[in-house]
């Protein structure tokens, strides 16, 4: 038997997780659908976002992620929403931060769970309706799926 391609192997735990999740709740939104829904027909601008995340994580249960978006943060022109999307977690929408000009800077940090090696996508919406987009790849040795934590 021909060995399974690496891509298929990598996708397997996610497919299993998706099946389990699907068995107990409403149909899940795909990563692509989540991105489309946030963009709402707008064309994103590449860049403008600095993502700080270790390139390799031993353990997907808690991965530090910090995001900085360039913005004057004035009433007329500020970052209103920052979305974190995961390409291969059971739920693509990881978090959404809502900011106001009173933040002073568009800078947030949190700790996320990662099921497997994947790309993390950040979309930042400005008060003027523009969207910045940036992604970062992260290698995960031990996924956050069933191991608890």
């Amino acid at each position: 038997m021909r060995p399974l391609p690496r891509r298929t192997m990598l996708a397997m735990p996610v497919a299993l997780a998706a099946t389990r999740a699907g068995a107990q709740s409403a149909p899940e939104e795909s990563f692509e659908a989540a991105e489309r829904a946030i963009l709402a027909g707008r064309t994103p601008i590449a860049g403008g976002i600095e993502i700080d995340m270790p390139p390799l994580s031993e353990n997907g249960n808690s991965v530090d992620l910090s995001i900085r978006v360039e913005s004057p943060m004035t009433t007329e022109d500020h970052i209103a929403d920052i979305h974190i999307l995961s390409e291969r977690n059971p739920f693509p929408r990881v978090a959404r931060f809502t900011l106001s000009p009173r933040a002073g800077r568009a800078e947030v940090a949190t700790r996320i769970r990662l099921a497997t090696t994947q790309t993390i996508l950040v979309l930042a919406e400005t008060s003027k309706g523009q969207v910045y987009r940036a992604g970062r790849e992260v290698i995960v040795i031990l996924g956050a799926c069933v191991e608890g934590g």
Partner: protein, 107 residues
């Protein structure tokens, strides 16, 4: 209102107009709906929203999913406008709301 263990880190005082970092970590398992073979099924129970108000307005909000690590940690900034409390409110699946306050002295 239910109790929750949270650690909120703010500078003791700030000058008016200064951008201050706010760090907050709260003890919570962020229970995902785990239903794997060999494991006892657990219903989802996470903190799904954190809202922060300060000086009369909401200054920060975070919508969380099961993709946020247990004991959720978040860091953001706010401009020091007046001496007052930053009020943190977490909403949990099932409707519980947890509230904590932290004072910022503005000089």
């Amino acid at each position: 209102m239910a109790e929750i263990l949270a650690r909120i880190t703010l500078p003791e005082s700030a000058k008016r107009g200064e951008i201050v970092p706010v760090r907050v970590i709260v003890r919570h398992p962020m229970e995902r709906a785990v239903d794997a073979p060999g494991l006892r099924p657990v219903p989802r129970k996470i903190l799904h929203t954190l809202r922060v108000t300060y000086a009369g307005a909401e200054v920060f909000r975070m919508a969380m999913s099961p993709g946020i690590a247990a004991n959720p940690y978040v860091e953001f900034t706010t401009i020091a406008v007046e001496t007052g409390d930053l009020v943190f409110e977490w909403e949990e699946d099932g409707g519980a709301v947890y509230r904590r306050e932290a004072r910022l002295v503005v000089t």
